[in-house]
Symmetry: C2
Subunit: 237 residues, 2 copies
Amino acid sequence: MTDSDIYQSVFERNRQWVKERTEEDPAFFEKLAKEQHPDFLFIGCSDSRVPASAIMGVEPGAVFVHRNVANLVVNIDSNSLSAIHYAVDHLQVKHVVVCGHYGCGGIKAAMQPRDLGILNGWLREIRDVYRLHHDELDAIDDPDETLKRLTELNVREQCINVIKTAVVQRNYLDRKAPRVHGWVYDLSNGYLKDLNFPFDEMLEKVREIYRLTPDPRKDLDLSGKNPPLPAKKKKDD
Amino acid sequence: MTDSDIYQSVFERNRQWVKERTEEDPAFFEKLAKEQHPDFLFIGCSDSRVPASAIMGVEPGAVFVHRNVANLVVNIDSNSLSAIHYAVDHLQVKHVVVCGHYGCGGIKAAMQPRDLGILNGWLREIRDVYRLHHDELDAIDDPDETLKRLTELNVREQCINVIKTAVVQRNYLDRKAPRVHGWVYDLSNGYLKDLNFPFDEMLEKVREIYRLTPDPRKDLDLSGKNPPLPAKKKKDD
């Protein structure tokens, strides 16, 4: 097929898809067009082999999706933070999922000694994950296993970055949602693996330093009378 | 269903999906895991009703996907620019598609007189599109039609933002790819509409100001002998 044929064939397949959906349910698109009420925000990798709705087996309308290189959530990134804000505050999603995948080109690229131009800064976030967990990662002998574990730890750290946001902390205090989950998708067999991210424990831990909702007993008192940092975890926290 | 049931049901559906795919082709995941060679980069909206691969009717592996609120490509946004760079330079995609959709909540929100917090800056890009095209948009009486046209013009402007990047200009000069396309997805009927973005014409036009590959006849000469801006379009450009 020429480039142009490849391009044109998409429109044929789109018409075929519409035909199949309306044969199953003539009102399919009419109902869908009214509003979206997704239960999930899915933050996943741009990799062509990780189509969010397909691997989750869900219908259009179920998952609000942000996809970028290596499923990152960066403190100053308007792009991912806007997606989180919109999904959590405006759509009131119940679950936020960060989904990485083994065999991620972004993770591999990040650990290569190469100047990747504009990608350097973005992928540096992954080396920052390595730095936080270097004892564990350095102890693994097999380079493939190191990358696999780095993929899992990257998901974990991005889950933590989601919890660091005010919008997630505030919503969880108000409506006990969203909960944050970490998954890895295994390209070699198609299965989603739940990393069982310890949400409640991490929420409490993250809020020791990143608490963004007021608590007069604990927050920084600029008068100098109280300890200069929020108090450490207490039983009644 | 409780929140927890909703969550757990994803893993059941994922196992079902794996079963179906491997029944069709026992080597499906094995082949897919080897490498990705997508022909397309799809830049689309995070909206839950716009699942890229499904509406394009393509298999996993065919489309590298970046999705954000209102399908924007912003000059200083590391996130979208990293996705473009990775797809164009490293995966050598043949087509870059910017796909908007009618009924976009981001577009609607952008035009409301409300303080949307962290979303303000992101959505301001859409008002910037309005500003560039206000004559045309102000002339439309029906507010729904105004939003529809704004959706199309937003796609057009994001296509132009893609062309402004060095990686796209350099790749197109080197290998005659990628070409950039603008689509709108119509939620009410499921059809993809090709806006027939005039790529060749726009590439030339954009490069009058945003040329990022050297051309000694035309580029800014700091000695002051040549005109201070690149020469206007010539026949041999």
